[in-house]
Symmetry: C2
Subunit: 572 residues, 2 copies
Amino acid sequence: MRASELFFPTLREVPAEAELPSHRLLLRGGFIRKLAAGIYSYLPLGWRVLRKVEAIVREEMDAAGAQELLLPALHPQELWMQSGRAAKYGADLLRLTDRGERDFILGATHEEVITEVVRQEVGSYRDLPVVLYQIQTKFRDEPRPRAGLIRAREFIMKDAYSFDRDHAGMDLVYDRMEKAYERVFDRCGLEVVKVEAEAAAMGGTEAKEFMMLSEGGEDLVFICPSCGYAASGDMADYAPPEEAAVPAAGLRSVEKVATPGMKTVEEVTRFLGVDAARLIKTLIYRADGKPVAVLVRGDRELNEGKLVRALDTTNIEMADAGLVQEVTRAAVGFAGPVGLSAPIIADFELQTGADYVTGANEDDAHLMNVNVGRDFQVAQWAGLRRVVRGDACPHCATGLDEHRAIELGHIFKLGTFYSDALDAHYRDEDGGQCPIIMGCYGIGVSRIVAAAVEQWHDNNGTMWPLGIAPYHCAVIIVNTKEQAQRDLGEEVYRRLDEAGVEVLLDDREQSPGVKFKDMDLVGIPLQVVVGKRAGEGLAEARRRGQKGADYLNAEQVVAWVTEQLRAAGLEK
Amino acid sequence: MRASELFFPTLREVPAEAELPSHRLLLRGGFIRKLAAGIYSYLPLGWRVLRKVEAIVREEMDAAGAQELLLPALHPQELWMQSGRAAKYGADLLRLTDRGERDFILGATHEEVITEVVRQEVGSYRDLPVVLYQIQTKFRDEPRPRAGLIRAREFIMKDAYSFDRDHAGMDLVYDRMEKAYERVFDRCGLEVVKVEAEAAAMGGTEAKEFMMLSEGGEDLVFICPSCGYAASGDMADYAPPEEAAVPAAGLRSVEKVATPGMKTVEEVTRFLGVDAARLIKTLIYRADGKPVAVLVRGDRELNEGKLVRALDTTNIEMADAGLVQEVTRAAVGFAGPVGLSAPIIADFELQTGADYVTGANEDDAHLMNVNVGRDFQVAQWAGLRRVVRGDACPHCATGLDEHRAIELGHIFKLGTFYSDALDAHYRDEDGGQCPIIMGCYGIGVSRIVAAAVEQWHDNNGTMWPLGIAPYHCAVIIVNTKEQAQRDLGEEVYRRLDEAGVEVLLDDREQSPGVKFKDMDLVGIPLQVVVGKRAGEGLAEARRRGQKGADYLNAEQVVAWVTEQLRAAGLEK
């Protein structure tokens, strides 16, 4: 391709709206353009990168035995009602009504639709297993689209779904997908961390996320520097206290204090002049229809996924004001464990510490000096709160590190959540009807494009890994007015092209500075500069971002480039 | 690929809803499945065919110098307001509102968006020309989705757009696209007819459609069997009468008759007992703000595109009842040319015939024996009506044939319609602002899949052209219980695969009848049957649909298959 013909409008100035390097550089390099909030056009260079990521994903999916198809973007809303996700996703879904007043949802993901397709076609156990995938545009009405392709409202995903007779079959596919994902990220030149992820909230049994550590990420992951344990912020566990440490003696007596209108942890602690760690938060939930009181320390955040796992049900919801009143005989903000009839589940951190402040189950009142065991009984201890930096690793008790990260992939043992909801059954050998065991496996294809820039860039622009670079090599004619430079540039271009190298010839009538800046900005990994020594048949060859260069003749340039490609596993 | 693992749920029974062969056979062969009216999933086999069509289109677009990108499906409604197409498309557009109450349209086509993108990036004449294309899902809320992939609500198109300094530049791209399209259809194995198409309604200067003649089509094309003139039903012209043939003498006198409540051609002709060909329809339009009366014979249908071209304006609309009353001093249904002050444009067919019936410009009255020239004057003669079978070819006066057809492609010299509406300008050498000259070029990618089946099928199923077949070759093991058959089948499969042939091994434990029927139904072009003579190392090789077969050994099978591919231009 000739740069003089390529549509890649580069920008010198930094777009004001863009904070993250990937957002800035993808805009500046002419890879993408914004049409509306969270909605981007992929210009030719960006689309080339995206198609390379797609091709890698496709090859690895095919190699893993998955079959490609394409499902519609328009989903009848009924399907999402059946799964319950129409409500769960709420305003995150883009909805529309057709001319016949039928309601549709724009596909945010495709579990319902693929389950519906497979349900209709799979009769017996002989039709299983089957693994299907697609690479497709998804739509989510993100409340805060941000960071360009990192969190867009219209984006491209690979989503795969597996259908098996039993959990053992699903486990096999899951393992195969995990390995395929590792190869995908490796071929894309990305370093990722595999972390344990939340599965129980959707009735699943196991899930992993593929995370790229990055300051610009909006997810948190916790990693044990000692044993390597790694988990998402939603999932990360912490070790229980080594032993219960409530002092047996020296405890003060319970004392009721007036806390008029003080409902939040902040209000109560400020009013009483105590630290939030001295407070017990009492949260009333309805689990499987019955009230339950959930206790965590005042400075902690309940993790609902952990509550779901501890209670072994996906059917939980926070109590409304009416139920709180009924259970505690007080307004919201004054619940406490003392004298409560509902069963109590408590974070095991509360096995330590003493003389806590709690609500008094009475309007405008709290209790001081409340102690577990003495003043109330706990029906179940569990890890219920979100982990924080420094918490003890659940495996080796080392303090956990906290990192920001970008989620790039996700594998998930779904089990029967969707097959139950949508009646996707198969007949086993005995003629019995069994729910199909499902897994789902996603990769953020367009997000990888941005993530690659987050991981690979410098002050001058993007630095694409060879495997997904828009072109492998840029041949820059420094001065197009010089016949010798033009001739050598064209010759090198032709030879590289004939050798199967993806090469961009910068033949533009621009100043050398503009051309060097542009080629650095668009981040072509291999650069061949045809300048002053063109008369001797020599050009400078270097990798993007490297200082210094070797003078090579045309033949040597081709040998050097093909060697670089070979070393990167891109045989030419 | 092994058929035992492939997800291709074939159907024995003919789906009740499907009338056209392509619709029936794509469902029966497990290529597609319906999710909702006009909304289909592409199952693995259908998706393979579609991806092959995509690949052909992509190669030919790249070769024609177009650059691929991807534009969003979600379009801010403002853009469609600016072009006026939000109203023009009306209920055919799927619309939605995001959580911030902003209105979006799901892309039915992308002229507005691409013009917006290019407008922002193109500054000077140096940035032109540029030709951009995408292959993408489009959305149209068709009132009557039908025939499976022929007219769907969610479908895949290739749309290309060219941006040039001048008409000469656009003409070059247009010609290049025309040739690229011919290669695309040729490589897809489809015979198409190029026809002149309507361009003026969108302010364009020239357009062609690529039509596949087919009983199942919903478009009409008219072709001259003598000189080859071919045009779409909207565009087709007819020769004017050789000479004006209104008799100079013997005409009867005008006579007013009461026609109480008789407003339609049908009512008037029945009431007066005359043929519709004896009536003149007088239609009042507003063109560029001024009223004009348009005359066509009572049995003819006005073609608004022709009126647009004749009046040389895109700004026409049919008069409402108020304007009709104002111009004719009568209610709708009684307009006539006699005594009318508005200028009259008449179809030149009315240069022949005499003693016509017309409205009287008076409620409940018509005139008999009205004659052109004697009773009213025509300001402009033109071809204004839709052509009908047998009309005289505009080039050679031979009677035109009428065919039903499916539109597969469209090339269109748009001119400045969108660049004017969206302010897409460039600076010329002198610093002056000029509108960019645009062209657009569409191919119905998913429609090609259906069209190929319409053109290539028999009673047993699809008969894919080699260039777009889901697999080139099927190897059918007749009896998988026979070791010799299994061994030879596997060997042939392996050898073909190693030779780069796309091969499907039917290794299913099914009866031979089921396997033969399925492989015919899915229409794999080359069939290798491994049966009774497997012990001798021989298999039968034949093309799908051909009677008889040759017995070949494994090596000969590979030679035969590769020779077939080579003959079809698919080098392996």
